[in-house]
Point group: C2
Chain length 345, copies 2
């Protein structure tokens, strides 16, 4: 007999909408019991959660590509878990799965959710658990489809990516290199920049904390910028706009510099460079490509396997550290894909 | 024997780079003689010049899609003229031609320029002289290729165009209607808005001087905005960004609200709507489509002929009125395509 009926499930919930930077009082802590799954459902034990800049957007009221997290709801988070109880032949106890587990120790999924593909089994031979939250997970998929579909890279072109040491950025730059492009990163601080160049093999990395971005772009993109993959917005987007080539493609993936603004977002003052250069700026949302994830994962797993792609995760431990861990994303402290490990596998 | 050697050619030249709004002292007035064409060249008498918002950009120093007009040079302007002397079998005296004549009474073209297609003959059976500067000219081509190539309209979609009573706007909206779209204009003042709806057949027109654009968009675009053809930038672009649909296309054609800024251009603060809506913002430059002008002119002339497309020109007379006439574009005074008639045909 299972003890799930009495097993504690600690949870972190959104207590209120944050104003500007997220603070501890924006969260509440609750404990429920894990409980048995319903008929046709499963119970998943959370092993590791993905901490992503997009989470900040989910906390805001208002229309977006996904409904906001409701006040009092368990905070939304993608993660990797282990099936610990099952009442469906689709999943066996011990299966490792990927899905929106939420910031909690246990997540129950019912037959309806499973029918809509809420959980997918993962194969740990393709990558480690944390790689499944990085290159093989949402960030990797975001980088892959953003670069391929909107960026449409051609060998010899120059690809610039901001947040280069972050989860999406590392995939974008390494993929650009594999495709024969010049890859130039933008990251904060010499340690990240050095890692991006020496370990990941980017051609160059501009330290935005060290001096004007424009100078770095001039020095490292002598043939201009054909593709800019933007994770940060703000001044960096504006600087890159002054260096784009004719028919350049700008992938709008995020704007981490703007997410905690209490004032209005600052728009790109140099957007008329799009006109002068007949260039394009296009937004992407990774969820649109779910049907093609399998192919992309297989391709990226191949690169991980043959060593052409590397990954780095910044792992923080313990569910209760979630509020502080999340802030690492916004002050640029994380080095590699930020992962919250909740339990040992 | 010709008297061209003694015929006066009055000219308007750029005296200095304007700071903010263009003023009379930014121009100088010169008189040369018309002169005989060189061997292989022609002399064209200017009949009518096209006055365009883009002219403001040509007056600025700096990299753009076309070299700036040099200090002391005759101001660049497209126009319609009549060949009055020829030393090439390609053109006969009396041919009506279209080309960059400049703000002057006579323009000489040499064999090299003609070889590069500097002048094209126009057929006045397809449209009147001023229509050749409007629907059949650069503005029409700009509207046509911007809407078709970047906008990619599908029947039933909602197309919004700013500067709706202007030269580009009238083509865009009427073409959208012909293609089965809902066409919503944005223009300044009740007279223009009434004309756009009653005469041109747009479904609605929002008077940006009458109230918040957002309210007008809500009222007149109940199914959201699929295509926005932007001629103005600034607050109007920002307002439309809040109403775009998923996979919307924004054609960046111009930003007349920003051209005379002495401060920095104001960027679209709501650009992250591109991300949320997986939408695209893309710049166009009409000169890229020269090879396809013939087909587009034939199509648009057909619509003029069968009455499905109407045109309106705002004609100002006399070369010497150029400085004041140009300002009508920036204070919104022109009603229809602004044309400077320099001589009677």
């Amino acid at each position: 007999m299972s003890t799930l009926a009495t097993t504690a499930n600690h949870q972190i919930r959104l207590a209120r909408r944050p104003h500007g930077m997220v603070v501890r009082d924006d969260w509440s802590y609750t404990t429920e019991t894990a409980g048995e799954p319903d008929e046709g459902g499963v119970l998943v034990k959370t092993l590791a959660l993905s901490l992503d800049p997009a989470m900040r957007g989910w906390m805001n009221e208002g229309k977006s590509y996904i409904a906001p997290v409701g006040i009092g709801e368990v905070m939304r988070a993608g993660g990797i878990g282990k099936v610990v109880a099952t009442k469906t032949p689709k999943f066996a106890v011990g299966d490792r799965v990927n899905g929106a587990l939420g910031v909690q120790e246990y997540a129950r999924f019912d037959a309806g959710q499973l029918g809509k593909g809420a959980l997918t089994k993962i194969d740990l031979r393709l990558g480690t658990m944390t790689q499944w939250l990085n290159v093989l997970g949402m960030p990797g998929m975001t980088g892959y489809f953003g670069l391929m579909d909107v960026g449409q890279p051609k060998a010899g072109e120059t690809v610039v990516v901001s947040g280069a040491a972050g989860a999406v950025g590392q995939t974008v730059g390494q993929l650009a290199k594999i495709l024969g492009c010049r890859a130039v990163g933008i990251a904060g601080g010499p340690a990240k920049c050095e890692w991006v160049v020496k370990e990941l093999g980017f051609d160059a990395c501009i330290d935005y904390k060290a001096g004007p971005i424009k100078d770095g772009l001039k020095a490292h993109c002598p043939a201009g910028v054909d593709i800019y993959f933007d994770n940060v917005g703000g001044e960096i987007l504006d600087a890159v706009l002054t260096r784009i080539n004719r028919k350049a493609r700008i992938v709008i993936c995020g704007a981490i510099s703007q997410y905690n603004n209490t004032d209005k977002v600052v728009g790109p003052a140099n957007y008329l460079s799009l006109l002068v250069n007949r260039a394009r700026m296009e937004g992407i949302v990774v969820f649109d490509n779910v049907a093609r994830f399998g192919t992309a994962v297989a391709e990226l797993a191949g690169y991980l396997h043959d060593g052409r792609m590397k990954s780095r995760e910044d792992i923080v431990f313990g569910l209760e550290t979630f509020p502080e861990a999340l802030l690492k994303l916004f002050n640029g402290e994380n080095f590699g894909k930020l992962v919250l490990q909740v339990a040992e596998d």
